[in-house]
Amino acid sequence: MLKTKEVEFNYDNQMFFKFQNIDLNSNENLLIIGESGVGKTTLMHLLAGLLKSNSGSIKLFDKELNQMSSYQLDSFRKNNIGIVFQRPHFVNSLTVKENLQLAQYIANKNDNTRIESILKNLNIFEKSNKKTNQLSQGEKQRVSIALAIVNSPKLILADEPTSSLDDNNCSKVIKLLKKQATDFGAQLIVITHDSRLKKHFKKSIEL
């Protein structure tokens, strides 16, 4: 499902990253763990098609990302990938529900029942009509998970989803992510420096 080979990336010839090869089968989740500065976020952006590598190959769902145009990458992303960010981002002028509707609109979908079922599943249905800046930190994180899965992606990429959480909440969030991935039939790749997550994943690589 995901196969990378000698992926290299450098920012303006200053920082240089060479990533180890990844080979992930369908139905497997993956934990990518590494210290700060080893290029975790860079790798995630490469996998999400937000960055293009300088050399090497990234094959995701049998498509070579390095050969796609920026427009093709946008379209590939909206059909296949959901992203959970370290810090949740929303469109502030919209309510929780409208944010999810916007995500659907971008992917040419319109399915309010799915939005409802996702919000219910995440226990934030009663916050549907709240503006996102009226939510608590935990609620924000759950809405950002909802945003990542609303378009039924085949792959969920999560960037440091637990770094600022205590042990109790850390385990809650990672269980929630894994449950959502299973419930909606997606694979999960978590990129983090948080070693507490190791016990939750069968497969992990260290950068």
Binding site: T41, T42, H45, A48, L50, L51, S70, Y71, D74, S75, R77, K78, N79, I83, F85, Q86, R87, H89, F90, V91, N92, S93, L94, E98, Q101, L102, A103, Q104, Y105, I106, A107, L147, N151
Partner: protein
């Protein structure tokens, strides 16, 4: 949810900065549109009342005053001229038709004009109720006059001397309303019209009262003493407009004035003020463009994570840039629409003011061609002010923004 809805939500999310740009644009568009409307309406109204009058002959004085008083009925007359002299001019072979008019009295501020019946035909006046006058002291009343003063057929009007309400009232000056005129959208709407004989009669008796003894021996010359205020003239050929007025001004003690020339002179005087004001309004529009640009530019910085999020959800650069331009266009087009509304209220306001003072009515709400240009300008401002923010969003490096978070 779609890009258009999102643009509107974004505008309402920042009500303060959105409304400042909007207010500036409404003001700029509103002022220009108001000036255009008033200019056109006044010109239309002036032209409308000018029809068929090539030249006005009256007493010496200011030519503009002569035109304003005898064509538009908004200034005092320059004086009277003798009927005999007027007859000489109207018999000239260059004159196609002439209408003699004379003033003397008013009824509650509305002028009573003595005029030949051709005067009503000139303005295409139609009698709504009643009939034409047959005898002296019978009057036809214009639509605004009877509407405002609630005059009915058969009422008796006691006139006051002079053209202002405060004048002395004539004891004998009692007019009988025999006809009401339909609204014609011309000056006759605000006039009370009667035969020249009525006005002569009223002032003769008046003169007799005062100078009975001194003037008794002149009684036989009475007819030679009759005077009129002005004479409206149409030429046989338009060519005559060049030489005939000059002949009259040089060779007689009468004054001839050409309305179209005087009115264009008046508009040139007006024009200076209008031009200055419209430059100011264009400046306001440009400032509104800047304010729009600054708002968008700042909100792009505040919303960069939002933009990055929308991109990671799969929106293309193009969609995102479109959203920015849309936001700007929604503001400028609503600014244009509100500006037009503003100018229409302005026209109504000015028109009500003018109706108070000079009994003129300006009521037309049609969209002028120049206002379509104003729409074009608003759209242009919207596009230009959003261009740089849109390009910025287009070039945005989402990976970098997200990594900095």
């Amino acid at each position: 949810m779609n890009i258009f809805k999102l643009s509107i939500k974004n505008i309402f999310n920042k009500p303060l900065s959105s409304s400042i740009s909007l207010a500036l644009l409404v003001l700029g568009v509103g002022i220009i549109s108001l000036l255009l409307q008033l200019n056109t309406l006044i010109k239309d109204q002036m032209d409308n009342n000018l029809r068929g009058i090539d030249m006005v002959v009256g007493a010496k004085g200011s030519p503009l005053q002569l035109i304003l008083s005898s064509v538009y009925h908004i200034d005092s007359p320059t004086g009277n001229i003798s009927l005999a002299e007027a007859e000489t001019i109207s018999n000239n072979r260059m004159v196609g038709s002439s209408i003699k008019i004379l003033y003397g009295d008013n009824y509650k501020g509305f002028r009573i004009v003595g005029a030949e019946k051709k005067f009503i035909e000139l303005y295409k006046g139609v009698i709504k109720e009643g009939k034409d006058w047959d005898n002296p002291y019978e009057v036809l009343v214009g639509s605004k006059v009877y509407e405002k003063l609630k005059i009915n057929l058969g009422d008796e009007l006691i006139s006051s001397h002079g053209l202002r309400e405060t004048g002395q009232s004539h004891d004998e000056g009692t007019f009988k309303v025999v006809g009401l005129l339909k609204p014609s959208n011309s000056v006759i709407d605000q006039l009370i019209i009667t035969s020249p004989q009525s006005v002569w009669d009223i002032h003769e008796t008046h003169d007799h009262d005062e100078h009975e003894n001194e003037h008794e021996h002149e009684h036989e010359h009475e007819h030679d003493n009759r005077e009129i205020t002005a004479m409206l003239i149409k030429f046989k050929s338009p060519m005559n407009i060049i030489q005939f007025p000059r002949q009259i001004n040089e060779n007689t003690n009468l004054q001839a004035a050409v309305p179209s020339y005087e009115i264009s002179r008046l508009f040139k005087l007006f024009g200076f003020g209008i031009e200055t004001l419209s430059y100011l309004a264009y400046l306001i529009i440009i400032v509104s463009g800047f304010s729009l640009f600054i708002n968008l530019f700042n909100s792009m910085r505040e919303r960069k994570y939002e933009m990055a999020l929308i991109r990671t959800l799969g929106a293309s650069r193009f969609q995102l840039s479109t959203m920015i331009i849309f936001e700007s266009l929604v503001l400028t087009i609503s600014g244009f629409i509100l500006g037009l509304l503003f100018s229409r209220f302005g026209v109504m306001f000015v028109s009500s003011l003018m109706e108070e003072s000079i009994n003129y009515n300006l009521n037309s709400l049609k969209i002028l061609n120049e206002e379509y240009w104003l729409l074009g300008l608003s759209v242009l401002i919207g596009v230009v002010s959003s261009l740089i923010p849109a390009i910025q969003v287009y070039k945005m490096n989402i990976s970098k923004i997200l990594a900095d978070a």
